[in-house]
Point group: C2
Chain length 188, copies 2
């Protein structure tokens, strides 16, 4: 069974985080929701408190099949400031294992040099950061995959992003079933 990590920092974008957790669990992926900072519930950017099962600092040395970063502000700023997030993300990238970021979160990857020469997208509001970080910026697609790197644009693309994460984990057949069962609109 695939096992993935989703770090939640205060101010995370709720639709992005919850859509990803929900879709992956529907495909029987083990999703570890880890609080940045103290454990317990983490409050998102629209006041929705979601319970995290563990603290990131307690699982930061474990290996995950994918690391997935939700967007939202100040969520991404809080992820960016946390040394455990940096450690986990850089190790995942170095190992060439699946790494996924949506909305404002690809900025965090760009600022660590992880998007240089890679095809990537993001929320339009942080596109300049990706370009400055040397990404081949793609604003024509809602989800962009380049090898084991996946990026996407915002709350409205979150389910598609989660389904594409399943594809990256080798669970494409489940993604196809879920697209139908969840009434996901046909892609562009």
């Amino acid at each position: 069974m695939a096992r993935v990590l989703i770090p939640l920092a205060p101010g995370f974008e709720e639709i992005e985080a919850v859509s990803t957790i929900d879709v992956l669990r529907r495909a029987d992926v083990e999703v570890v929701v880890a609080a940045v900072g103290d454990g317990g519930s983490v409050v998102g950017s629209h006041g929705i408190a979601v319970r995290a099962e563990v603290r990131l600092r307690d699982v930061r040395d474990e290996e995950f099949d994918a690391v997935i970063l939700p967007g939202g502000e100040p969520g991404v700023t809080n992820l960016d400031a946390d040394p455990d997030v940096t450690a986990v993300v850089e190790r995942q990238a170095r190992a060439g294992r699946p790494l996924a970021a949506i909305c404002a979160a690809p900025r965090l990857l760009a600022q660590r040099g992880l998007l240089r020469g890679r095809e990537a997208t993001s929320h339009p509001s942080v596109g300049s950061h990706l370009r400055a970080g040397g990404a081949a910026y793609d604003d024509a697609h809602r989800v962009v995959r380049d090898g084991m790197l996946l990026t996407s644009r915002g709350p409205g693309t979150a389910i598609e992003f989660a389904l594409e994460t399943l594809e990256m984990l080798g669970l494409g057949a489940r993604a196809t079933e879920l697209r139908r069962a969840m009434l996901v609109a046909a892609p562009d």
Copy 2:
């Protein structure tokens, strides 16, 4: 400022509930998230615990500009069994005030005779309940509005459902802005 009620029962569908709360709050609607049963966090159908600010029993006699029912199982079965949910839904329908339900939740309306002769949709898995309840069943659209009654189909239609709830509350201009800012796919 509009004020809406979203009851959460154990087993609610997380994408549907969270997308609705998030989108409405982005439009500055006051969203009251009310636990069916005891207060505190309510665990959804994919193990995501969301904190409810109040208990439904404590706000059931208040007037809301809209009442919105998320789907999911056993969430809808739990909503269906709760007398406070019935009281709130029947009062809202009688008053002709906005009432919205997504996925499996329109079944609850059908079983109370509230969809008789009305255009409505639902998750395909409960379509037979709507037809049995006398609804003019529409499986060609992702969100269906008939006067102050709004129904929709599943997690993949949740953001569109929330945006149409804004339209029903007279906040169509905000819905248009949000559609763009949230990168929502163009409707069918």
